[in-house]
Symmetry: C2
Subunit: 160 residues, 2 copies
């Protein structure tokens, strides 16, 4: 009776699933590519007992000694309350310290310890190596264009 529907059902059984509608969107393709990058980053950082956000925070603190928590949250594009537990963990592991700011008793100046700087060196080297493998089949010209496109998209947010 409903032979067209049955044909469609059989079609799905014997043919690949079509995601053509979604593939028209850059957002969907970016999500799928980011899944790969995120999984690779997660696997890479596991050896250092780091996650995406604790790694990012550590790198920004090493590169910007004296950074305030509010500055770090801005730089990472995350909400300030969500930063507290990240800083707590890095501090508990003695990778960073929360120094007081003499001129502003509300604020902390975040600084990396020697252990933090050493972990930074190893983690950044590992992430660099892994990302090189992921991008082995992309030439530098393409990567440059992709970087520029990401900047344009990031700035689209600031205009809306």
């Amino acid at each position: 009776m409903n032979t067209e529907k049955q044909n469609l059902t059989n079609s799905t059984e014997t043919h690949a699933v079509s995601d053509a509608t979604l593939r028209a969107f850059i957002g969907y393709r970016m999500k799928r590519a980011f899944n790969v990058v995120r999984d690779d980053l997660t696997a890479t950082l596991r050896a250092f007992d780091l996650r995406m956000l604790t790694y990012t925070a550590l790198v920004l603190i090493v590169d910007n000694p004296g950074l305030r928590q509010s500055q770090l949250a801005d730089a990472m594009d995350i909400e300030r309350p969500n930063l507290v537990i990240i800083i707590d963990e890095l501090e508990r592991r003695d990778l960073i310290i929360r120094d007081r700011v003499p001129t502003d008793r509300r604020a902390y100046a975040l600084k990396a310890t020697l252990a933090g700087r050493q972990l930074y060196e190893r983690a950044v080297a590992a992430v660099t190596s892994h990302e090189e493998k992921l991008l082995a089949n992309l030439d530098q010209g393409t990567i440059k264009i992709v970087f520029d496109a990401f900047s344009v998209i990031e700035q689209a947010k600031r205009r809306t």
Copy 2:
């Protein structure tokens, strides 16, 4: 005494935070661009009471009537247990149905309802419009190169 450190602290106060180390990574730039795309998608879908995953599932089901849950999970690159609550919600809203498969009593054939197909049309149109705005400052050639780069990255996963 520790005047160099104090100078660095003052430096952070008066200069922008540097994220140059992270900006060297495509993964970091992709994450930041994806934050923008995801926020825009979330805002766009809110009007239809959809989220990123329920929207994606609906689109794939409308385009592939008779799809199995395991096929859908593969197509969406998510774990099968995480699909259950997504399908539950779409079914509860009468956007899809779980049809039984006569030849395999374990499986369901997922099909969209009329309401589901109508919501698909409206949601896809809205997402199309919003993404066009996000990409207004990117030319088609650049978008094509970015799409191709994403494919290369997605395929890098299959090779590791």
